[in-house]
Symmetry: C2
Subunit: 269 residues, 2 copies
DNA sequence: GCCAAGAGTTGCGGTCAGTGCAAAACCAGG
DNA sequence: CCTGGTTTTGCACTGACCGCAACTCTTGGC
């Protein structure tokens, strides 16, 4: 057998795989959880192993079992732990600002961070429109997310190119063009304080985003507002200015000292 | 050594202990994380073990290491997983209702569920008052939380007594009195639809709470509003009626069919 | 800038916990 | 009561984890 690297921490790996399966797609249809055999088959492991692992995980509260259907789903402990995360703090502080944005434009508003070459959405505030796809806890490639440009704004060129190459198929002309476009966009974020993204790929709508800085001045997150029906360019830039301003206030709330135009303090709605 | 039950899933246990330590008290002071040695000492384990475990956990995104201070804290993966939890769904639906409550009374509003003999706070919405203790992800004993009565409202008497005995010191007269008081309060919840809790123990403020039902009609959660300065009793009951009404609307939003007085649909603010 | 103390990592053998197979128990429907 | 499926349990084997100790890296004092 070729694939026999004596994996350290095999147990953890198995448990994480299980949790990942239980996470499903977050759709409502897998709300009632999954059975042991199904998980075992999905992971190509022994049922007995899964059964035992799940029991242990249940004991720790990482998963919980529906007493009637006997199916497993993610447990309360995850929720409790997640609440103590750095990201949770960020969400708590940012929520009012995002709501203000969502209310002002009646568009969905998002808070995102960078995770590897993906953009992880930490919080999404729906507009008043009927249906709202839940993006929380979901990662999408940097290039697809509206917030991607804001998050990479202050990276140096080499690292950005390197990162993009891990995502884009290398060698294509379109890819090279994308790279250059991207670097230009990043410059725009640095100068104007916000990014405007056209509709890029099938699933991602266009959007306006702006970087959020922590107490050290580093860009650690980005807020963005989706734009469903493409408005006039000027309108987009108006929105950009507002988003950038909110991002600045949020940064200040996170401890970022320099507020260039130190005007009156606006408390979040 | 007496305590040597050949523990199955020792690895998971160790990992969970580590995560629990990293969770800390959720205070701001442990925001920058903890070092390997400190954790090792706290858990009474070998440094090497902790070091290796943390590396594995970091690989899985369960913890992350500050690149500059080299300290560990809880990772983004927890956040992503928690977002797919049953509890997260509940929070998403309930948030607007809680905000409405918090706004109406200008008091902190909470969403809680039952976990063993503890009440786990899933979401807390602060009032406009200056400081707000973050309760999310924190468990407190049933008897202390304002929401406790609402959560137990429809249990049968025996189970309630059994549960209370796991919390209260058995045999004391005060405990027996508490038990009877509790059962009376539960009856009140069933008839009036809300519970009023006096200030009970040092840390918990008084509050008004009401049960929330899922699509099967079972009480799966409770919402509550804190009451800092004890108002007149009538005022408390006015508040109770409002909280109960909001809880009913929330239950309906969760799929609970019967809306006794099926009036006009109020969308959450 | 150097040195020392502390913090974190790595190598290594013995041991025990997890793996996998197969059989038993369980559960839901007919 | 039997039959299909699903989940749990028994048990022997093996390789992954534990703990010790040596090593390296980081930090802070002088």
């Amino acid at each position: 057998m070729s694939d026999k690297p004596p994996a350290p921490s095999a147990g953890l790996r198995r448990d994480m795989d299980i949790l990942e399966v239980l996470a499903g797609h977050g759709d409502d249809r897998d709300a009632d959880g999954f059975g042991v055999s199904w998980i075992a088959e999905r992971l190509g492991r022994e049922k007995s192993q899964i059964s035992r692992a799940l029991r242990a995980l249940e004991l720790e509260g990482m998963v919980e079992r529906d007493p009637v259907t006997r199916r497993y789903r993610l447990g309360w402990r995850l929720f409790a732990l997640a609440a103590r995360t750095q990201q949770a703090r960020l969400v708590r502080v940012a929520a009012p600002y995002l709501r203000r944005l969502a209310g002002a434009f009646d568009e969905d508003a998002y808070l995102c961070v960078l995770r590897g070459n993906q953009v992880l959405t930490l919080l999404s505030v729906p507009s008043s429109r009927a249906y709202h796809r839940v993006w929380e806890g979901i990662s999408v490639p940097v290039i697809m997310a509206a917030a991607g440009r804001s998050l990479l704004a202050e990276w140096d060129e080499e690292r950005v190119r390197a990162l993009l190459r891990t995502v884009l198929p290398s060698g294509l002309d379109s890819a090279v063009a994308s790279e250059d476009d991207w670097l230009a966009d990043l410059a725009h974020v640095r100068s104007a304080g916000y990014a405007v993204s056209d509709v890029e790929l099938e699933d991602s709508a266009a959007g306006v985003s702006a970087p959020v800085r922590d107490h050290r001045g580093l860009i650690t997150a980005a807020i963005s507002v989706s734009v469903i029906r493409a408005p006039a360019p000027e309108r987009l830039h108006e929105m950009g200015a507002v988003v950038a301003e909110v991002a600045r206030e949020l940064s200040a709330a996170l401890g970022y000292p320099a507020t260039p135009a130190a005007g009156t303090w606006k408390s979040p709605a």
